[in-house]
Symmetry: C2
Subunit: 245 residues, 2 copies
């Protein structure tokens, strides 16, 4: 049974259209490769009580929760306090992190700077060679920043922490079929094989009109589903087939 | 008081990383321009009961809900049945839409094709000159497809249906300040003026390290907040100021 994950993206800037959310594609791909099923994403405002409510809803119903955004020194960065509140624990200043901040900023160190050293009691600090600031993990919740370059580096730390289950594999048939004509076929293929079948139409100048995808953890199941689908499709309408790697 | 909106994005392809979600930036900007506050986005799987649960949670707590994805002829397109179930109404075949489909496909018309004519009882069909297929609206829920080109065209129909309230305006100061140093200042500006203050650090080769944003429906409030912030910042660290248009 695959582990199930959810993501909580925190930030008014995304909801007002100022910033385009850029971390979900990488997160989705990474979890897929790990064989972890990303089932749900919530994008919410920089509001303490909203984050607490969403965190509590997601962390009890999923094996893994990854948050993005709302960690930093300013008033709109409330993810750490929300995590502490959701878990019912106080926030403490990590002495090592606080010392590193004081060493860096010297006498110009502010309360804002020191917020970067705040850790909810019971939180774990995860690190590897590639990050110079650790990732906070609290039970099954991993706390990442929203800035994409840093999110990507810290996601590698999360990947190491999660380890790999049976990874998901994916195959595809690119066709010039009409989606309405193959709808019943695809429903039958999904029902009869242990694969998740997706159907993605395009309406542009691409060489295909529908991409059919086949996801499973077992390569043989994907191949059998592709073979049976190919037998049912009009050969002239099949543009290409991509087998699971 | 601004109207409040939520979006429900439906699609396994986004959660597995096969497709990058491309409609939210446009939706967020459009709602912002209309003075409607997008408060929440949920991305969920192509699962009937999940969609029903999410729709019911969102439509009762927001003035407007926009859905994206899951409308089409295949087995994984379950948004219309989910809407019917959420509202407790049967699905009916719209006779005009069904006739247009039969006219187009002739004797090759399938059940899959005809699913495009299914409308939950009580649904409204909205159209303008730019779309050749209407947008389904059910109470406060607007149902859009996931394919970005079509989503964009249909969103214009939704924009006309929603009309404009007092639009949001936005100003910005680009600075080379350290975010930790200005954190207390920004919290005070937001508390004392009727503006939403955002702080967005960058860690790349850009000309600024922090963009401070000021959102409000009243231009004067934004200008006053910007002026007071400028008085408090070190002038040499201010890169540029963008007033609300």
């Amino acid at each position: 049974m695959s582990r199930r994950a959810a993501a909580l993206v925190i930030g008014n800037e995304i909801l007002t259209g100022k910033v385009v959310e850029a971390n979900l594609p990488l997160l989705a791909k990474t979890l897929f490769e790990l064989g972890i099923r990303l089932e749900r994403v919530v994008i919410c405002r920089d509001d303490l009580d909203t984050i607490v409510r969403d965190l509590d809803a997601l962390r009890h119903t999923h094996d893994v929760v990854v948050t993005s955004g709302g960690v930093g020194p300013t008033h709109d960065d409330v993810t750490i306090p929300a995590i502490a509140k959701a878990f019912g624990v106080p926030i403490e200043l990590d002495p090592d992190l606080a010392q590193r901040i004081r060493d860096h900023f010297g006498p110009r160190t502010t309360e804002g700077h020191l917020r970067m050293a705040e850790v909810p009691r019971g939180g774990r600090l995860l690190a590897n060679q590639a990050v110079h600031w650790p990732v906070l993990a609290m039970d099954n919740v991993f706390v990442l920043p929203g800035v994409p370059e840093i999110f990507a580096r810290k996601l590698e730390v999360v990947r190491e922490a999660l380890g790999a289950g049976a990874p998901y594999l994916s195959g595809a048939i690119y066709t010039r079929c009409d989606e309405g004509v193959i709808a019943a076929l695809l429903a039958r293929i999904e029902a009869e094989h242990h694969v998740l079948v997706g159907s993605y139409p395009r309406f542009d100048e691409s060489d295909h009109s529908v991409k059919i995808t086949f996801d499973a953890t077992e390569r043989g199941a994907i191949d059998r589903a592709i073979d049976e689908t190919l037998r049912a499709l009009e050969p002239g309408l099949v543009v290409r087939v991509v087998r699971a790697a």
